[in-house]
């Protein structure tokens, strides 16, 4: 009798939750959700061993539509919550999902520190340059002057460049994806999840309801893949390509190996740990 164990390959359906997405028809986030399913199934993760953390916004509803463990936090605070999870469960894959307002406005302070920590998570920002849940105000990734129904005068400030921000902060995995290139995006997310350290994937995910400028067509015309011979270990090249406005490149800009937050967590743990009461008794002894 053979003892070959066959591991059943999980399918996309195995990661779907009971809740149906609440997004508008034609929303870019559907493509991102699908890419997440495909990335998880490519790793064949058990849904019970995956945690998806999000903030607040249309895109941050994503955990509800999966069968993973999820933490839908508050606006801008997905990063520290993810850090707390990783400190306790440093071996469980954690994805963070959210929008550009969450990542680059209210949560940008936390983003910088999560990157500095080299927290071993994969953060996918679904970037549409507007706040959808509050009916279309412009966000920090909106080009100056972008006018929407809720921001009729146009965005007053220049746009943040998420890739340059991540690179300047020391991010060890920097990528840009596009919701209408689901295969490439799934591949980027799968690699981001496999990456040892903070994987940041800014993802164009158009809002058909509130942003009539940055549409699917707009991004199809404006984007191009990074060259075939592009070297993602070249930091200076990453900066150059990230600064490019025409075209906007898609793909993995930069990847590096650095000690992670989890390395630090593991290193502070002594080889032999003691029972809590033993530790407390020992401290009492020192206090006499």
């Amino acid at each position: 009798m053979s003892s070959v164990v066959t591991v059943e390959k999980r399918k996309v359906a195995d990661y779907k939750g009971d809740e149906r997405p609440t997004w508008c028809p034609g929303c870019g986030d559907f493509g991102v959700l699908n890419a997440v399913f495909n990335a998880l199934s490519s790793h064949n993760f058990d849904p019970q061993n995956v945690i998806i953390v999000s903030g607040i916004g249309c895109s941050s509803r994503l955990p509800f539509f999966t069968d993973a463990y999820g933490f839908h936090t508050v606006h801008g605070r997905a990063m520290p919550v993810a850090a707390g999870i990783r400190a306790v469960q440093p071996d469980m894959p954690v994805l963070a999902m959210g929008g550009d307002g969450d990542a680059f406005a209210i949560g940008v302070g936390h983003l910088i520190h999560a990157i500095r920590r080299n927290l071993n998570i994969c953060y996918v920002v679904m970037d549409n340059a507007v706040y959808g849940l509050t009916k279309g105000q412009t966000s920090p990734t909106a080009e100056r002057g972008l006018a929407t129904k809720a921001t009729p005068q146009g965005a007053s400030d220049p746009a943040v460049n998420p890739l340059l921000l991540a690179l300047a902060t020391g991010c060890t995995f920097v990528a840009r994806g596009f919701s209408s290139k689901p295969k490439d995006l799934a591949d980027l997310i799968a690699r981001g999840v496999a990456h040892e350290g903070f994987a940041f994937i800014d993802t164009y995910s158009p809002c058909p309801t509130f942003n009539t400028v940055n549409t699917f067509k707009y991004y199809r015309d404006a984007t191009d893949d990074l060259p075939a011979d592009y070297d993602p270990t070249d930091f200076n090249a990453a900066l150059r390509y990230a600064a490019s406005e025409d075209p906007l490149y898609l793909g993995l800009y930069y990847q590096a190996e650095q000690p992670t937050f989890e390395d630090h967590i593991r290193s502070t743990k002594p080889a032999a740990t003691s029972n809590a009461m033993t530790v407390v008794e020992g401290l009492f002894d020192q206090m006499s």
Partner: protein, 582 residues
């Protein structure tokens, strides 16, 4: 009359060894069997500045810092100028004549003590100045030398025998100077007739750290802030010994965010901060209440709104702890009443947080967190640790319909079993959105009503299990003192003083302030003719909470200068109130 109470204050420039002098003396006095309680005032400025360390020594247990100073050791002129007024009429000033010119018409005995000269010229060991001072002070109250000898050996052995000997010589020089130069020094001698044995010395912050470890806390995150940073630093050193971690976050929003993430992932988690940091945490306090995540938040209160007075004392955060947050956000608030109580209430805070899956706020303050006290060593066999109710497929049977797990299933006491990521079949989404039993967001009227009831039902149950209130005094007294937190120390001593003059007083200090435990407050309030509520804040935050729940006349005594109650003034105010209510 034998003396049983002595207050020593060492004052000088911060960084001049005030703290090390005080700590060495405190530790030695503990070993000598004295009860000790310290009080210190760190400088308000960053470098240098005036600081003092005060030690109260007793042959019985004391509860407050002591109103005035018996022995003042002034290292410099500013120390003398600032502290002379708080020195008793029959007190003693010991000063270095190279630094201090005391006033000629002083009300207390003044003795020159050429500390610098002894250390520099006699001992040729200038840095031993503090040990010389320790020797002198110890001799003044009659501490047997052996306690200091052994401490000096323990402390300096690493640096070699010769360093130990030099310090022992310095100690001796201090002792000899006092014997030769201080007249009537016997009047400061204390004789512990029943020396305590086995008491330990800890600060409130250490007691909180120890309580957290004992309760099974394995994750802590905080951001530096006075006077709570000590808790984080203590846990950064000691939590890893149990396999846990303490981390410094980028701000308080992140600190509590990490705590909630860790709690979601299965760890007993806490943060520690002061008022300004707690203000920043309130957003996620609501998330913890809504997602029903256990967590402990220590708010070591300091004085004033905004940055206020970071190194001063006030009980000004009770409203914030009890009511902060939008919507209706249930939480439990506990307030320890002494350093030892900090240990036990921290354990209780974790137990309640885990059992009721709700945030618990522990209200410390500058006075309590910073001071050290000799306390009976807690018996860990008596410490009961409660863990959260966990979902298990075949275990507790509280899973939902069709055998599917429902994270927020409705139960009698409002507590639903939690799952931990990795548990098969336990997947759910923790969310701050209103949600149904499965954890899916729902905005219908029935769901919000039922879930609000569920969350508050937990609090009702928790109040029945409130840690027993602190009681002191004569239970039959008609005059009741209702108070909370560290003010208990001054109140107990005022009651003790009042008793000597025939004043009958009874104190109740609930340790759970939100919700207020009905079974403790109502009988007390209904049985007293007059109730006085002393607290260190302007508006009477506790008095207002009590009044709204138990309307009647209360006498308020409020203090709001950044200092705790003096026992003598508090007693005087109580006397006046009692006289008006004959």
């Amino acid at each position: 009359m034998t003396r049983n109470d002595l207050v020593i204050r060492v004052a000088g420039e911060a960084g001049e060894g005030i703290l090390s002098t005080g700590q060495l003396l405190t530790q030695a006095a503990l070993r000598g069997g004295f009860h000790v309680l310290t009080y210190s005032q760190p400088p308000s400025e960053i470098k240098g500045g005036h600081a003092f360390y005060q030690i109260r020594l007793n042959t019985y247990r004391s509860y407050s810092k002591g109103d005035d100073v018996d022995i003042l050791l002034a290292f410099n002129q500013e120390a003398y100028d600032r502290n002379a007024a708080e020195t008793k009429d029959d007190g003693l000033l010991v000063y270095d004549p190279s630094e201090v010119t005391p006033s000629a018409d002083s009300h207390f005995v003044q003795v020159e003590f050429p500390l610098n000269d002894i250390a520099k010229n006699q001992l040729k060991f200038p840095i031993a100045k503090n040990v010389v001072a320790v020797g002198a002070l110890a001799e003044l109250f009659g501490l047997p030398t052996k306690h200091l000898d052994s401490l000096i050996e323990e402390r300096w052995l690493r640096k070699g025998e010769s360093v130990v000997q030099k310090n022992l010589d310095a100690l001796r020089a201090g002792i000899d100077y006092v014997i030769e130069n201080v007249p009537q020094r016997d009047r400061f001698a204390l004789y512990p007739d029943k020396p305590h044995s086995g008491e330990i010395l800890m600060s409130g912050s250490e007691a909180i750290g120890l309580g957290a470890i004992a309760a099974g806390c394995s994750f802590m995150s905080g951001y530096p802030i006075t006077p709570a940073s000590d808790i984080k630093e203590f846990l950064e050193i000691h939590l890893p010994k149990t396999g846990g971690h303490a981390l410094q976050a980028e701000d308080e929003l992140a600190a509590i965010g990490m705590v909630l993430g860790a709690s979601f992932a299965g760890a007993k988690s806490m943060t520690a901060t002061s008022g300004p940091g707690f203000s920043l945490m309130i957003e996620m306090l609501g998330l913890a209440a809504m997602a029903e995540l256990p967590c402990v938040i220590v708010d070591a209160q300091r004085a004033g709104p905004s940055t206020g007075m970071p190194t001063r004392h006030e009980q000004g955060d009770l409203y914030q702890a009890a009511f902060a947050g939008h919507g209706e956000c249930p939480r439990i608030v506990l307030a320890p009443t002494s350093v030892r109580d900090c240990f036990y209430q921290t354990v209780n805070a974790f137990n309640l947080a885990e059992k009721y899956q709700t945030p618990v706020i522990l209200l410390g303050d500058t006075l309590l967190n910073v001071r050290s006290e000799s306390v009976p060593r807690p018996d860990l066999h008596e410490v009961k640790v409660v863990d959260r109710l966990l979902f298990s497929e075949n275990g507790n049977g509280v899973s939902g319909v069709n055998g599917e797990y429902q994270r927020y299933v409705l139960t009698d006491n409002g507590v639903s079993p939690m799952s931990i990521p990795g548990q098969e079949g336990g997947q759910y989404i923790a969310t701050g959105l209103e949600h149904n039993e499965e954890g899916l967001h729902r905005y219908d009227e029935a769901t919000h009503s039922i879930m609000t009831q569920k969350r508050f039902r937990k609090l009702e149950r928790a109040s029945l299990e409130a840690p027993e209130a602190d009681r002191f005094g004569d239970p039959d007294a008609e005059i009741g003192l209702l108070t909370w937190g560290s003010t208990v120390g001054s109140v107990i001593e005022a009651i003790r003083e009042g008793e000597r003059e025939g004043l009958k007083l009874d104190m109740l200090a609930p340790r759970m302030l939100m919700p207020l435990p009905e079974h403790e407050l109502r009988p007390f309030i209904e049985s007293k003719r007059v109730i006085i509520i002393p607290e260190v804040n302007y508006v009477g935050q506790f008095a207002n909470m009590v009044t709204s729940q138990y309307p009647r006349d209360y006498v308020r005594i409020n203090l709001y200068g950044g200092m705790p109650f003096r026992v003598d003034r508090l007693l005087e105010q109580i006397r006046e109130e009692v006289a008006q209510h004959v």
